[in-house]
């Protein structure tokens, strides 16, 4: 029996505001336990929440970036349940009136573009962290993360393969990084994805039973988990049994999922409107101000690079994956006037460095300005390819301007015709054996002369000029 896979994702992204969602505690990963907390995010009796305006702005940005409608009227609700990482025993979230709804995100699957529907994006608060004590039989709770602002992005069940799920998550990650609302570090938990998956007989319209999978901590794991779940459900259905609606926990190291003790589908959250927070009413002016402050999004940028700069799709894709990289590309292209050259250098040298040293290189001394200056020198032929690499190495260490480095290391290609001519004449005349070899047709002698002349000129001469003058000189003897 062949099955169609139906996947929906629930993605949680931590917003990188300075302070938490309802209090003025620092919003930062890590720290000694319970040192970034206050009575509000600890839910102490008598405390009250006050909404961080930036959270609202970032959420709207995310909604606009995903082509969502922004609700004119939106409110908060309490989601009530007991768990030790939840200090109030309820989470302030949004139930039936989220800030953003009814949007879509386009992804590239092979050569095709596919639209994945976004059901909604809403605001909620994060919970604390529970850890097992290594020494005693107990659990320990750190509430530093309690009150960190989250957006939850819920897709429509439009994803149809594990690979698509991974691509989709990558796309979301890029978008959120582009608009700078989240740093999307899955390993730190600032981006989390839950996978909802069901199977239906191929071509049928009857939806299958959906399971939910949690604890997916990397892009690779999304694909692996979805794949494993599709296979697990297929095995069940093939054997004539029923798939049960359940919540499962993915274990990436084992490559399989396990039934979780708490069956979420039987949880009654008793949602009701949050009385401590007034509703949010958004007018067009407010939304348009935010819309105007949005950067150009990855796909649009990619299209533009292809059309305006003539960059091939593959290159444009890779460059626009990372906003900082794309910014460097654009600035450098503007300065040196040769986008293809810039693109080639990014695809080779810069990418190589990124693979070796990570993305921090994009926040180092290297920027669009100096990269552009360097490639301009190269494009004009004032330095050689090898010298350019040397300049980048130096630049990353010292932050000097490329021109300064070139001067300091004496890398400028020399084109003094009279000096070259003198040297050529001198080398030729002082190597009669080689000259005889050349006249008698031994082409190797040319290389010999080139080597000697370049060495005499400390390798700084423009090789093509030397070649030209040497050829002319040797002609006289033929």
């Amino acid at each position: 029996m062949r099955y169609d896979i139906v996947i929906g994702l629930e993605i949680h992204a931590e917003l990188k505001t300075s302070s938490k969602i309802f209090c003025n505690c620092k919003n930062e990963f890590g720290g000694d336990p319970n040192t970034r907390c206050c009575p509000v995010c600890l839910g102490m009796p008598g405390t009250l929440p006050v909404l961080n305006k930036k959270v609202l702005e970032y959420t709207i940005k995310a909604g606009l970036a995903m082509n969502c409608k922004i609700a004119a009227f939106s409110k908060f609700d309490r989601k009530n349940y007991f768990y030790p990482d939840m200090p109030k025993a309820y989470q302030i979230s949004q139930y039936n009136m989220p800030i953003c709804y009814d949007g879509y995100v386009e992804i590239d699957v092979g050569d095709e573009t596919k639209r994945i529907g976004i059901e909604r994006i809403h605001i909620e608060e994060d919970a604390g962290k529970l850890i097992h004590s290594p020494t005693e039989q107990c659990s320990l709770i750190d509430y530093n993360r309690s009150g960190v602002p989250l957006i939850e992005i819920v897709t429509k069940p439009d994803i149809n393969s594990p690979e698509e799920a991974k691509i989709f998550l990558e796309t979301i990650k890029t978008i959120l990084e582009y608009i700078e609302v989240s740093d999307c570090r899955m390993q730190e938990g600032s981006l989390r994805a839950d996978v909802n998956l069901s199977l239906k007989p191929e071509g049928s319209n009857m939806p299958g039973v959906r399971t939910e999978m949690k604890n997916i901590n990397s892009l690779r794991a999304v694909q692996r988990a979805a794949q494993a779940e599709a296979e697990r459900q297929a095995r069940i259905l093939d054997s004539g049994q029923k798939v049960y609606q359940e919540t499962r926990r993915w274990d990436d190291s084992k490559g399989e999922s396990f039934l979780m003790r708490d069956k979420e589908e039987s949880m009654d959250y008793r949602y009701f409107p949050e009385p401590d927070l007034p509703p949010v009413c958004l007018d067009d002016d407010f939304i348009n101000t935010i819309r105007k402050s949005m950067p150009e999004l990855p796909r649009m940028r990619r299209e533009r690079y292809m059309n305006q700069y003539g960059i091939p799709k593959y290159d444009a894709d890779l460059i626009t994956q990372n906003r900082l990289l794309a910014d460097i590309f654009e600035k450098a292209s503007e300065i040196c006037g040769n986008p293809k050259l810039v693109s080639n250098w990014i695809m080779t040298d810069i990418m190589k460095r990124m693979n070796e040293e990570g993305e921090k290189i994009l926040q180092s001394y290297l920027n669009g300005e100096n990269f552009g200056q360097l490639l301009l020198l190269l494009d004009k032929g004032e330095i050689t390819h090898a010298s350019a690499i040397q300049v980048i190495d130096e630049l990353l260490k010292t932050g000097e301007e490329p021109v300064e480095i070139v001067e300091r290391l004496n890398l400028r290609v020399m084109r003094d015709e009279s000096l070259v001519t003198k040297t050529v004449e001198q080398v030729v005349s002082s190597n009669p054996q080689a000259l005889n070899d050349y006249i008698s047709g031994k082409k190797k002698a040319f290389g010999f002369f080139m080597g000697k002349i370049m060495a005499d000129l400390q390798g700084r001469a423009d090789p093509s000029l030397v070649r030209e003058i040497l050829t002319k000189e040797l002609q006289r003897y033929l």
């Binding site: 300075s18 030790p84 039989q137 659990s139 509703p279």
Partner: protein, 97 residues
């Protein structure tokens, strides 16, 4: 019965409150009386009335994104009867995510 012992057990579990076996009957009776009275609401004609979710007609109450709180762990943890190395301490939780 609006509330019998079975319902009380279920609700008590949802509310994370333990009711002693010998008290269940009493609670069930009391709550049954109370709920039946409250159910008078059902017969009220509310027509197109919208649920009043907020008393005040205010919207858009925000604060600026600034950090003003510092480490106040000692104050926060002093009311906890059990803590360890700056953490709050509980019996082992089985389903750690």
């Amino acid at each position: 019965m609006a509330a019998d012992v079975e319902i009380i057990k279920k609700i008590a579990d949802l509310a994370a409150v333990f009711i002693e076996e010998n008290e269940l009957e009493a609670y069930a009776e009391e709550l049954d009386t109370i709920i039946k009275y409250m159910e008078e609401l059902k017969s009220i004609e509310t027509g197109n009335e919208k649920p009043m979710e907020h008393v005040l007609a205010i919207n858009n109450v925000f604060r600026d994104d600034v950090v003003t709180n510092e480490n106040m762990r000692d104050d926060l943890i002093k009311n906890a009867s059990l803590s360890k190395d700056g953490y709050f301490k509980v019996p082992p939780v089985v389903d750690l995510l």
